[in-house]
């Protein structure tokens, strides 16, 4: 196989455009979850721990207000300094992180708080300890918890949305995606390694997976694309937050006003691909 074979499907321009999208979503100066939470929400107070022995800094949970509304918040958090990147594992959660998210869903259900999630993760942490402590089980149980949550739930993909790790906080009543964010079955590097047996084909994989935000809207996986400042969110955090905040509030209001029912959320994910007659 040569690179020439691949260009039959993914023209160089498509691959370059898809890759540029991925690079903006991963820009080192891009606002991370806490940067946006601090600018979009009021009175945010972080809570800690999964109540089962761990507190994963890659997953942040807390309480906040938005306008007049009370909220529970869950977010993937990347680190910016070398120390913080290590402590937060580049936004890749261990089982304790997913169990921390489950705790937040339970708390929100009991206290009748709407939930807003911020998604920015390359995926679940790929390590020995994570596997030993039941990474797959933790993610599966988090999927289940989201589909049983009895309160309104809004997800916002703010950067990378990688694989099952992203899905653990994505199964909301409504999903918003920042203009340069993406959601993918696997990172372009991992997909390239599987499909082409060459991680270097990441640009072609990105194009073939059609992972840009606009496709998610077309397919009904996302409900709204949130515009970013010219060039991307990294150019202006304040403007990014100013664009996001009113949309968050409008979306939450819309979910609540249309008549809320978790069975409706389950039906959304049961029928999402729209390929099969019920």
């Amino acid at each position: 196989m040569t690179a020439g074979d691949l260009e039959v499907e993914a023209a160089p321009d498509d691959a370059a455009a898809a890759w540029a999208h991925v690079e903006v979503s991963r820009h080192p100066d891009r606002p991370y979850a806490l940067d946006l939470i601090q600018r979009c929400l009021d009175d945010f107070i972080e809570l800690h721990g999964d109540r089962q022995g761990g507190d994963d800094a890659a997953m942040v949970i807390g309480l906040a207000r938005l306008g007049g509304h009370r909220l529970a918040v869950v977010a993937n958090q990347k680190g910016r300094t070398l120390e913080e990147r290590g402590r937060r594992n580049f936004g890749m959660a261990h089982p304790e992180g997913y169990r921390k998210a489950q705790r937040l869903f339970t708390l929100a259900g009991r206290l009748k708080l709407p939930v807003v999630s911020f998604i920015d993760t390359p995926g679940a942490y790929p390590g020995v300890a994570a596997e030993e402590r039941g990474q797959a089980w933790a993610i599966a149980q988090t999927l289940e918890a989201q589909l049983a949550l009895p309160t309104p739930y809004l997800a916002v993909v703010i950067g990378e949305g990688g694989s099952g790790g992203a899905l653990a906080t994505l199964l909301a009543d409504s999903v918003m995606v920042l203009e340069h964010a993406f959601l993918s079955v696997a990172s372009p590097e991992a997909a390239a390694a599987i499909l082409f047996r060459d991680a270097g084909q990441k640009q072609h994989a990105a194009a073939a997976l059609r992972l840009e935000a606009k496709n998610l809207l077309e397919w009904g996986i996302a409900d709204e694309i949130v515009p970013e400042p010219e060039g991307g969110a990294h150019t202006d955090w304040e403007k990014t937050a100013a664009l996001l905040r009113p949309r968050l509030e409008a979306r939450l209001r819309m979910i609540t006003e249309r008549g809320f029912d978790p069975a409706r959320r389950r039906a959304r994910y049961r029928q999402l691909d729209g390929l099969f007659d019920a």
Binding site: I139, L147, L167, A208, N215, R266
Partner: protein
């Protein structure tokens, strides 16, 4: 996602020739290993078996009634890697005699009626396509409607890359369908066989009310090779095997394939048998 060469043992057998164990390399007459359910008579290695063979092993003779036999998916992304996805699908359908990587239906197990689903690893690594997700969700729903316990044998590499984010969303679809079964208070028995990885174990397969696994099956979210490349970590002995997860409380029982039908029947006798005075009051 590649089709393992461990499969060739079974294929050779179908043609009537001898069976060579992928683990100990010993060769046995075809009829003998068919009788041991493709478990090596010498070393007890469990060879991978396809979905049709799995149903033959578990369902009482003549009891299996297939569901949604004609339900197939489409190439939503127009995907082409080194080959066109549609060509890969056509080839797998012809080779495995299945519309996609999952066979579903109703049947009885030593007389106990159940909804049954079996993954076919030889069909694009048993990966989660939209069609597989839909067949699985429908099997769960058919079981709930018919008041049947649901038994799923999973052998899956996880996501089907060629269906991109639609593959990812099958995790959500399957978990959504399982909610129906739980609401009907019907049991889900999840059986993990070699290999069960990625999106399959991180969704429906980990949510069994009872989870069984065949010996030495590889089970985990991230594959060992990827973990080594990403972290340079030393892998502990027996990493990600059935026994490894059983020791950590993640799997109820490790069951030899030759005992699997009997163990299932025992579970169903308790879970789906007649209720007594005390538990009837809870129904």
């Amino acid at each position: 996602m590649s089709v393992s060469t461990a499969y060739t043992g079974v294929q050779a057998n179908k043609e009537g020739s001898a069976f060579t164990c992928a683990a100990c390399k010993a060769t046995y007459p075809a009829a003998q290993v068919a009788g041991t359910l493709y478990v090596c008579p010498g070393c007890s290695h469990h060879a991978r078996v396809g979905a049709h063979e799995r149903i033959r092993q578990l369902a009482d003779k003549g009891s299996f009634q297939e569901w949604d036999a004609n339900l197939t998916g489409t190439d939503r992304l127009g995907f082409f890697d080194t080959r066109a996805y549609v060509d890969r699908l056509d080839e797998a359908r012809a080779r495995q005699q299945l519309p996609d990587a999952l066979l579903t239906g109703s049947g009885t197990i030593h007389g106990f009626a159940a909804g049954l689903a079996a993954f076919d690893f030889g069909f694009l690594g048993g990966s989660l396509s939209t069609a597989v997700g839909e067949r699985l969700a429908r099997a769960i729903e058919h079981s709930a409607e018919a008041q049947l316990p649901f038994v799923c044998v999973t052998s899956s590499g996880g996501a089907r890359m060629q269906e991109g984010v639609f593959s990812l969303m099958q995790m959500a679809k399957s978990v959504s369908a399982l909610h129906e079964l739980a609401e009907a208070h019907l049991p889900f028995i999840s059986i993990l066989v070699d290999p069960t990885m990625g999106g399959s174990i991180a969704s429906f397969a980990a949510l069994g009310d009872v989870i069984l696994a065949e010996p030495k099956a590889m089970i985990g979210f991230t594959g060992a090779r990827v973990i080594t490349q990403a972290t340079y970590e030393q892998l502990p002995a027996g990493f990600q095997t059935s026994e490894f997860h059983h020791a950590r409380g993640l799997i109820d029982r490790v069951v030899d394939r030759r005992d699997l039908k009997a163990v299932l029947a025992q579970l169903l006798a308790v879970l789906a048998g007649p209720a007594g005075e005390i538990d009837q009051a809870l129904a």
